[in-house]
């Protein structure tokens, strides 16, 4: 299968200029249709949420290759597994809570264990689902998916990266879990950005503290870095869009260069990006770390911005965490 062409990439990036606000799921819908045109083996499944996940775009373009499983996520994952076993490239979508939690055993047993190339694209991940409340806020999906052997786990930062990630997982053998949110989020990347599975991109250099973020928290991390710069603190910002396989070298390099790390994710601080970074640092380069994310608790209803403020995940909290962790680090930065 051919990868995404430079022209298509440029067109996608042009559709979503840097600084504009776009929901990543819109980019997913667009990528799916283009991918479907390119590769006849691509099939798409949904569980009665196609208008929300944007798989409806593919359903309109290729009705014969779209399968609505109804409100039956477990069966949807099994159908996807069977389609993959027979040579198809299935994309299966629903909200992140259902994709990871409701159908966990199906993802584990029928997809991950046999290593089948099902691409799960889960939307409405994280606290910023907002008003639907805790039942619909997937705060543990990254932890669940990251624990499965062979599962690639990706949390794109914006529409541009989502678009490229969809192409990337289609071209990559084996299962993948791509998680995006519900809300429109700032576009961070321009036409020159190239996503690569397993590579953490340094978006901003800085020697005082490293902010490692994923998803829409990357934009907040960049804002936090700008605020820190005004206070004389130079923060490095990294985009950890691939949660698994994690770019361990980039994590260690950032820790060595700055001596203090903050992670930022729209997920529980247990087992997601913060957990993954803590594992690497603990084993390879012990470094003071503060994980910004949802504490060990469920979410609640509210507007996304209000929730981020209430749960300690707004820009000012990332700034505070950076200052605090830097203070804890003392002078332990690696020499040179």
């Amino acid at each position: 299968m051919g990868g995404v062409g430079a022209k298509a990439l440029a067109a996608a990036a042009a559709a979503w200029p840097v600084g504009s606000k776009v929901a990543c799921r819109d980019a997913y819908g667009r990528a799916l249709v283009e991918l479907g045109r390119e590769n006849p083996a691509v099939v798409v499944l949904d569980a009665d949420l196609s208008a929300s996940t944007k798989t409806v775009e593919f359903a309109r373009a290729f009705p014969e290759r779209f399968f609505n499983a109804g409100i039956a996520e477990q069966n949807m994952m099994g159908l996807a597994a069977g389609l993959a076993a027979a040579g198809k490239v299935p994309f299966a979508s629903t909200f992140a809570v259902f994709a990871s939690g409701r159908a966990f055993d199906q993802v584990r047993m029928s997809i991950a264990y046999p290593g089948l190339g099902v691409k799960i694209v889960a939307t409405h991940g994280g606290l910023t689902v907002g008003e639907d409340g805790a039942s619909h806020q997937a705060l543990e999906d990254l932890a669940l998916m990251r624990a499965l052997p062979g599962m690639t786990v990706i949390v794109p930062a914006d529409a541009v990266e989502t678009y490229q990630a969809v192409w990337a997982v289609a071209a990559r053998p084996g299962p993948a879990y791509v998680r995006v949110g519900r809300s429109a989020v700032p576009v961070v990347f321009g036409a020159d950005y190239r996503f690569e599975v397993g590579r953490m991109a340094v978006l901003r250099q800085g020697r005082d503290v490293a902010i490692i973020a994923c998803g829409h928290m990357v934009a907040l991390g960049l804002e936090a870095a700008a605020e820190l710069a005004r206070r004389g603190v130079e923060a490095m910002v990294l985009n950890a869009s691939t949660i698994k396989p994690l770019d361990r070298e980039a994590v260690v390099a950032a820790a060595r260069a700055t001596g203090a790390v903050v992670t930022a994710e729209d997920h529980s601080v247990v087992g997601g990006l913060g957990g993954a970074v803590a594992e690497v640092l603990g084993e390879e380069w012990p470094t003071p770390l503060i994980r910004v994310g949802v504490g060990d608790r469920f979410g609640e209803s509210g507007p996304p911005a209000g929730l981020l403020e209430a749960y300690g995940m707004a820009v000012r909290h990332i700034v505070e965490a950076a200052v605090r962790v830097k203070g804890r680090a003392g002078g332990r930065r690696a020499p040179g």
Binding site: Q74, A81, S110
Partner: protein, 287 residues
């Protein structure tokens, strides 16, 4: 016997029945020897399904042991994954891997895992063992076959206790919705699950009526009568516009007197003396 199957059942040649009976006896002997050697495993549900598995692997399924992933092959999904020993025995006897390898069942490093593993065992189409999932994957394969205009068929074997899993009915709904007439499911109705008789633990009865209500064609057979098994498989091939389920009445532990109809042999391996007695009872020209 279901009157719809009577004519086809009568037409099955006696020599074919005799051949399949011998095959099934061989599979049963392997099941006893394998689980006995492994010291664990599930003989009861393997023995109850042995005749269905023998009929499928030695007559119904189009397979090429030299090319396990041959594109035009029929697909078989063992949804009741704990009956892996009987399917391993059939695969070995069909030549997918050496018969001697059956002795490695459940050993460290063996290709023959306790439950089916698509990645390690030639001929295994889907990893199963967490009950209730195989029918969904079989439906996915059937969808793929139909999308590509292929003539290969998909077969799934489920346990009667297994259909207590809700996902089975999600899959049943989907298979009928998508009119998957290239899919045939067998339910091995041996009447027992680990904790006892299915009606006592959590009754899934009536079985055939449930599948019919979900939009399936359903036939009931004696799952130890090769004439009926073959007639049912042939009948299913002729059904258009909907999937078919073959509800096969079987005896748990079939063929071994002290295992027949006993729930405790669901997941317990026979000891050396029991292996000896079982093999003596199975006798025949099994290899």
């Amino acid at each position: 016997m279901d009157p719809r199957l009577a004519k086809a059942a009568r037409a099955v040649p006696p020599e074919l029945v005799r051949e399949l009976e011998a095959r099934a006896r061989t599979l049963r002997r392997h099941v006893i020897a394998m689980t006995g050697r492994a010291g664990s495993g599930h003989p009861g549900g393997s023995l109850s399904a042995a005749d269905i598995v023998a009929a499928l692997y030695f007559h119904v399924l189009r397979l090429d042991p030299a090319r396990p992933r041959w594109e035009e092959r029929d697909r078989f999904v063992l949804s009741k994954g704990h009956a892996a020993p009987v399917v391993y025995a059939a695969l070995a006897e069909r030549g997918f891997f050496p018969v001697q390898e059956l002795a490695t069942l459940r050993r460290l490093g063996s290709r023959l895992q306790g439950h089916p593993d698509r990645k390690s065992t030639p001929g295994i189409e889907m990893s199963t063992g967490s009950l209730g999932q195989g029918l969904s994957t079989a439906c996915g394969m059937a969808l793929a076959g139909r999308l590509d205009g292929k003539r290969w068929r998909v077969y799934a074997l489920l346990g009667d206790g297994e259909i207590q899993e809700g996902q089975v009915w999600e899959a049943a709904m989907a298979a009928a919705h998508y009119r998957l007439d290239n899919l045939t499911a067998f339910v091995d109705w041996n009447g027992f699950q680990i904790d006892g008789p299915i009606e006592k633990v959590m009754s899934p009865l009536p079985i055939a009526e449930k599948w019919r209500a979900f939009g399936w064609e359903a036939v009931e057979i004696d799952g130890h009568d090769f004439r009926q098994i073959l007639a049912a498989a042939g009948y299913a091939r002729g059904v258009e516009g909907r999937p078919t389920v073959v509800v096969a009445r079987t005896v748990k532990g079939r063929g071994v007197s002290f295992m027949e109809g006993r729930a405790e042999w669901h997941g317990k391996a026979p000891g050396p003396a029991e292996v000896e007695q079982a093999l003596r009872e199975l006798g025949g020209e099994g290899r």
